[in-house]
Amino acid sequence: MNTASKALSIALLAGFFFAGPGKAESTQFGDLKVETPWARASIGTARPAAAYMTIRNGGSATDQLVGVESPVSGMAEIHKVKTKDGVVSMSPAGPLPIGPGETVALAPGGLHVMLMKLRQPLEKGARFPLTLTFERAGKVTVDVPIHGVGAIAPEK
């Protein structure tokens, strides 16, 4: 596949995702919009789980995601995966700035909400509330659908 057709297919794919499932699961919250939150089912409660979403800032000032919490998790944090020379490592991301007009995607291989100390297993088909705290906009709670343990993208 040449670069042009690759770019085209990426553009088409991106268009598909934005036009597709994004509409149904979005929460507008002041200048911010939280789109397509989803999480992977967990295997029991001993291991951490991950949740993903896209956050858009339609306002004119930078906001920061400073905290995440959920009743299903005793400790939730934004984590970031870094790849260097083919080696991946994961660490807490700290406050996540979202500039005016910017979109930050929490997606596999990059940023995720790491849900540690699970209080209950995340079961496919169920949903759970996740509260995001922004520096300016304050708190918003989104309803997160749980996809299969093998999910790699939000499902329709």
Partner: protein, 198 residues
């Protein structure tokens, strides 16, 4: 003024060329080092499968093998890759009989065989999880030139997380290394590659 401007442009151009040259040299050097490391891969291990039996690399001869190093407390890269591997297996249809996916834990202290059994079953029935004593895991990883390291992290479960090589190894039915699929290679691309070979 004009002369100064020309001089500045020349300096900028030279600096740019120097930078590009350095970059090209560094990149090709790294590629060379990487290529020779890849050429030296000779899978060699004695580990415990999630079923409890002791296995070596010889157990899987006769099948193409997709090998991934990771750990079950990994919430992002590992499930994403294993989900891709499951998609590959399903995408191969009948030909999947000739492919053995293997997940080797680089976190053997937490990933005992029972934990591996619970984990791999969630992804695909054909997936085999391998673990062992820390030394056995270290030898296995070394034979693949796979890298891993424990990273202390106070807020992580048990106070640590693991960094590790993220690529998926393809071995031929003679157990020889063929190539790597880097993290994020779409399952369809892997299926296509395997279908050509099978």
């Amino acid at each position: 003024m004009t002369k100064l401007r020309i001089l500045l442009w020349v300096v900028a151009a030279l600096a740019g060329m120097g930078f590009l040259g350095l970059y090209a040299w560094k990149t090709s050097f790294q590629d060379d080092a990487r290529q020779s490391a890849l050429a030296a891969i000779r899978p060699d291990y004695t580990l415990t499968a999630h079923t409890g039996e002791t296995v070596t690399e010889r157990n899987y001869l006769g099948k193409w093998q997709l090998v991934f190093f990771g750990f079950t407390h990994c919430p992002d890269i590992c499930p994403t890759t294993l989900a891709e591997v499951a998609t590959v297996m399903d995408g191969l249809g009948e030909a999947a009989r000739n492919v053995q996916p293997l997940f080797i834990s680089i976190d053997p202290e937490r990933d005992r065989p029972a934990a591996m059994a619970e984990y791999v079953a969630a992804f695909h029935p054909a997936l085999i999880g391998l673990t062992g004593e820390p030394e056995a895991v270290a030898e296995a990883a070394q034979s693949f030139y796979a890298y891993y390291e424990m990273q202390p992290q106070s807020d992580a479960p048990d106070g640590y997380t693991m960094s590790h090589s993220s690529a998926l190894y393809l071995l031929d039915p003679n157990g020889r290394f063929v190539h790597l699929f880097s993290y994020g290679t779409p399952a369809a691309e892997i299926v296509e590659d395997l279908k050509e070979k099978l």
